[in-house]
Every structure is written in structure tokens, then in C-alpha cells.
Symmetry: C2
């Protein structure tokens, strides 16, 4: 199997290196062969090539069976609203180029990390859901304008029935494999695009009679995720709402560093931890590699290697319980990023 | 003083009635005269007039010194994406007609209600912030389209420099009166409108050298509100982000029923609890009136009656600590909505 590896910015390279160790260990144990093509994207790519997404990176990703990605972003671009080139553009363009239309983020609470969660134990009981976020449409990719005198700006949000259908089918199928519940989050009391989403999901629901469907307005969903996260099974939503809600949901687990994600398209899929590039920690060997390693487990699932994926998850559970954990989890008795990678691979 | 009263839908009429009792008690004690004009809006208005916002309501609001509003919305409209008339349109049109461009929502945690919060005590320590949400622009009021065959929908998001400036000035002024910190929440790494917001706020910051300004992406803000809400003082943001984040923030307090809001424009201002119409509870005399009563306190502040407002807040504190509280706070030993209103007025 051919894997494109995009280490990216900040702590991206460090955490990705641990996933590669783990993938190599899996390959050795199960007799697979994984070969890696390393690619540039983000601030790292701007620094070297001037572009946040060099064409070679797109090509390498198209040739690959899957993509393993680290993190993107550098603070030097954040507070310059008139910067012409921004690292994040690389990721957005890649999602579009590869048509990675569905972002999947599982959320569950590790018993051993409950003390780190801002939520009370009562809220954490039974939390096990997955966010299906649309990733190549909506306001992220609509027309943007800025008037010549800089006094008026606009962003367009567009959705088509086909865009909603393809991700909704994936979400319904996932609900079927899980607890049979799908919640569409929208703002149908205000937005035309949300009413389209609601209409399409209501229609498709008749094809999945075994899935119970409900609807929540996004403002209410932002409350429910904290008040009663255990109510969710599959949460389906559009791009911007998914960005906000999946990050909000990530606090439940107690550590952002633990959470993986998959972005799937028709041809290929990309796997990345949900944390950002965390530049303050870059180069210090203190980042949590588990979000990346669990993303690698999702990558193995994508290859149909379910036993292999399960073994990686067992290794992660073992390291959390040991505990062989990084500084974000235990600021005093912590293990270095690279050590945790070695232990997991062993 | 002339007050337009819009009881609205669901529990709106019940909670608003308690605020009127309290306002009458204040008037009697301090020698003021408040007269009330009752108006229709929302589902109640659709049922009676066919329109969610009858013209008489706009006129009465324009003639009033302030508006006291209950709640809006009825489930019979929510799951019909093709309904032509929806209750919420009434509120949106009223905000626009009266140019209520700033929504203000204070968030703090009552010591006596900590056990109700989904957050741990550690997170609740020192929480005291206020959300300034833009209320008459952005994607709420942009052009909406639906193609003739219903397969493509769009919502436009537009902001002008002037729209950002007027609310930003209010937010800076508020920060000055508080702890001197302003946080702009945007998505400047993706949206053109967000970059306009960031540019304008960066520029205005030079006029308020005593206010410390920082910037957060909305996805990160959704996490920070739960991880460390005490870091916020004044949180400034655009319409849709404000809708999501202020509802999310409301869970901190432990009860949605406790939180007030003010929506201010150039000519007049509207005061409403942040909770919805909660139709399941309507007519049962079990709704929490305190969000509405605290909104009435904000109304008194708006009239410059600060001593009066403080007295209302003291009465609310007293009832929470007594505790004379409604069913949402104590499901067993609760007081009826109307009883709490009587006690507060006494
Ligand atoms: C980096 C940024 C453009 C991106 C997004 O908003 O989609 C990130 O927040 C994410 O969720 O993957
Ligand atoms: C009822 C709805 C249109 C409204 C909004 O989204 O603004 C409500 O959620 C609010 O926050 O006041």
C-alpha cells in the first residue's frame, strides 16, 4: 500500500513520525508492505515553495491509497487579515482537489482520562458518537468578495442536493452499523441551505427505516453536546457547523490530543488528528501522538485491515492506562512523544 | 415610561407576566410610572393575523421606550422546511425593523446552582463575561436563493465596515467598564467577512489602548468556552457565531432559564430571556421566570434606573438562595412560576 505522508506544520511532523513507526510495526507483524511518499503542505510548503499546496503534493495524494496528515497553521499568518497566502488554504484546496467530502470524527471518553474532562462524570457516562461533517461545500468554498475600498466583504454559502445526499448516505449507513440514530444539525429556521439539508435528509430517511432521525438547530446542538452528549450516535452537519461542533465535542474527551479523524472521498481518504499545529510545543518532543496514531488506526480500517486497526487501538488503550502519556495528560510524570511512539510500536 | 410587551409563544406569556409584576413593584416603590402595550409576534401572531410580525407590533415598539419580549417558536413549524411563514421570521424582522444591531448576553455562574452545571467546579471559578453578538447582519439577512427545481440553495453573508464598527465600539466601551479585555471570535482563516471584522477591530483597538484585544477562531472559541470560560471578559462576534456560542455559553450557568439578554439599537432596545418557547411546559406554571425578570433588570438599567435594577437582582439572588426556585432547578421542591413572581414582587 502506498501512503502519502504530509507532516505539515508545528507538531505535525513529530506526531506523524510516531504513526509511521506504528504502521511499520503493523506491517512487520502482519506481513504488509507500506511505502511512504513525504509531501509538503501548509506553512512548511509556503516557506519552501511559496505555495501552501504544491502540485506535487496533489499528485502524490492522487497516486496514494491513503493520506496521513499531521497539522497545519502558523501564528505568523493568523493576525494578518490581508495576507495573500495562508497555510490553511493548502488543506482547503487539498480537500477540494481530492473531493474529500466527508469528515468523520469519533468522540468517546476514556475512563482513565475522566479527571481531565471539564465535564462532570455524569455527563461523560455512555458518550460514544461520531460527527459526520460535510467538508467540500458550504461557506468554506462559496464565492468571496471584498469591495475595492475594503468596506464590504461577503462569503457565499451554497449547497446542492447531490452534495447533501452523498454524505447523508454515508451517515445513514454508519448509523445502521451503530445504535441506529442520526441527528441532523442545521439552522433551518433561518437558512435556505439548512432547509435543503433538512428536506433531503427527511426524504432519504424513508430508505433507512431502521434509523431514527431527529433534527436540532445548531444553537441547541451546541448546548446539548455539553448537557447530554450521550444522546448522540451519528451527528450529521454541514461544513461550518461541523467545524465548530466537532471542536466543541472534542473537549468532552478531556484531551484534544487524543482524537482522530478521517476525511473520505470517492477515490481516497485522508487521516489526521483533530488537534492543530500547536506551535508553542513544536520541536520539544512533548506533543501527544495518540490522536495521530488513532488516525492511523482509522487508515488501517479504511484498508480493510480491521484486525490491525484493533491492535493499534489496544496499544493506545494500554499506553493510556499504563500510563505512558504525554505532557498534556500528565504534566509531571510524562513520556516524550518519541518514547510513546517506540512503546506503541513495540 | 412606555413599555411594549410581546409575550410571544410557549412559556413566553407566563414568564413575561412575572416581569411585569416585578416592574410594577419597582414602579410603586420608586414612584415611576410604567405603561404597557401588549403586542403579538411569532406563532401567536400567525394564528391570529396570518403574519409573524403584524405592523401594529412594529409601530408599538417604535413608540415605546423599551420592549419586553418572552419567547418565540412552535414545533409545528420546525419540521416543515417548505413552510412559507415561520414564527422566527417575526423576531428577525423586528430586529431588522428596529435596527437592534447588538445582542448582549451576560454569563455568570450562581454559586447556589453549581451542582446543576455540566461543568466541574474548577471550570466555573471566576466566570463572568458578556457576549456581544451582532444581530442585524451576516448570513441571517443575506440574499437567499432556492433553484426552481429545488436542488440548489444558497445563503449570502455580507458585512460592511460600518456594521462592524458600531457594535465594536459598544463592545470596547463595555470592556473598558469591565476587566478591560475584548476577544474577537471569527473564522479569519477561511472567511472574507471574518477578515473584515478582524481588520476593523484591529484598527479600532488603537482608540482603546486600555483594552487588551485578542482573537480566536470560532472552532477554538467553542472549546475555550468550556475548557476555560473564566478567560473571557467581553466576547465580540458576528451574528451566526454569536447565536451558537452564546447558547453554548449558557450551559455554564447550570440553567438556561436564568439568563437574560438585551438587544440594543439606536432608538430603542428589546429585553428577553435567552431560553426558547419550551412548548412542552407551556401553560403549566412551571417555567423559570428568572431569565425574564433579569431581562427586566437590564431594561431598568437601560432606563438609567440602576438602583432599581440592582434591587431586582438582589430579589433574584434571594429567591435562588432561599431557594424559591422553579421545577427546572429543583424538580421536587419547586415553586410555581406565578408564585415566584409574587414573591419577587413582594
Ligand atoms: C485549519 C482550518 C481551515 C480547518 C477548518 O476550519 O476546516 C480546521 O479547523 C479543521 O477543522 O480541520
Ligand atoms: C429564534 C432564532 C431565529 C434566534 C436566532 O437564531 O437568532 C434565536 O436562536 C436567538 O438566538 O435569539
Amino acid at each position: 500500500k502506498q501512503i502519502a505522508v504530509i507532516p505539515g506544520d508545528g507538531i505535525g511532523p513529530e506526531v506523524t513520525a510516531q504513526s509511521v513507526k506504528v504502521l511499520d510495526a503493523v506491517a512487520a507483524r502482519f506481513g504488509h508492505e507500506f511505502s511512504y511518499t513525504y509531501c509538503l503542505m501548509g506553512a512548511a510548503a509556503i516557506d519552501e515553495t511559496g505555495s501552501p499546496l504544491p502540485l506535487e503534493t496533489i499528485d502524490a495524494c492522487l497516486d496514494a491509497d491513503a493520506i496521513l496528515f499531521g497539522a497545519i497553521g502558523h501564528p505568523k499568518y493568523d493576525n494578518d487579515p490581508s495576507a495573500k497566502v495562508r497555510p490553511e488554504q493548502g488543506l482547503l484546496q487539498l480537500r477540494k482537489a481530492l473531493q474529500l467530502f466527508t469528515n468523520i470524527r469519533p468522540v468517546s471518553a476514556y475512563a482513565a482520562l475522566r479527571h481531565l474532562s471539564p465535564l462532570k462524570d455524569k455527563q461523560l457516562e455512555g458518550v460514544d458518537f461520531v460527527v459526520y461533517r460535510e467538508l467540500t461545500g458550504g461557506i468554506y468554498f462559496g464565492e468571496k468578495t471584498l469591495s475595492a475600498d475594503g468596506t464590504e466583504a461577503s462569503d457565499g454559502c451554497v449547497y446542492t442536493r447531490a452534495e447533501v445526499e452523498r454524505i447523508a448516505h454515508l451517515a445513514f449507513a454508519a448509523a445502521r452499523q451503530r445504535r441506529g440514530k442520526l441527528t441532523l444539525v442545521d439552522k433551518a429556521n433561518v437558512l435556505e441551505t439548512s432547509r435543503l439539508w433538512r428536506r433531503v435528509v427527511q426524504e432519504l430517511a424513508t430508505q433507512y427505516p431502521d434509523v431514527a432521525v431527529d433534527f436540532l438547530f445548531v444553537d441547541n446542538a451546541a448546548m446539548q453536546l455539553i448537557l447530554n452528549p450521550a444522546q448522540f450516535d451519528v451527528l450529521l452537519t454541514e461544513n461550518l457547523f461541523g467545524d465548530i461542533l466537532s471542536d466543541e465535542a472534542s473537549v468532552i474527551a478531556g484531551s484534544l490530543g487524543m482524537l482522530p479523524s478521517a476525511s473520505v472521498g470517492k477515490r481516497t481518504a485522508l487521516f489526521e488528528p483533530i488537534h492543530g499545529s500547536y506551535p508553542q510545543a513544536a520541536g520539544k518532543d512533548i506533543a501527544n501522538p495518540l490522536g495521530s496514531v488513532l488516525s492511523a488506526a482509522m487508515l488501517l480500517d479504511h484498508f480493510g485491515m480491521t484486525e490491525e486497526a484493533a491492535l493499534v487501538r489496544t496499544a493506545v488503550d494500554w499506553s493510556v492506562n499504563a500510563p505512558f502519556v504525554s505532557k498534556d495528560i500528565d504534566p509531571v510524570n510524562f513520556y516524550f512523544t518519541s518514547t510513546i511512539g517506540d512503546l506503541l510500536a513495540d
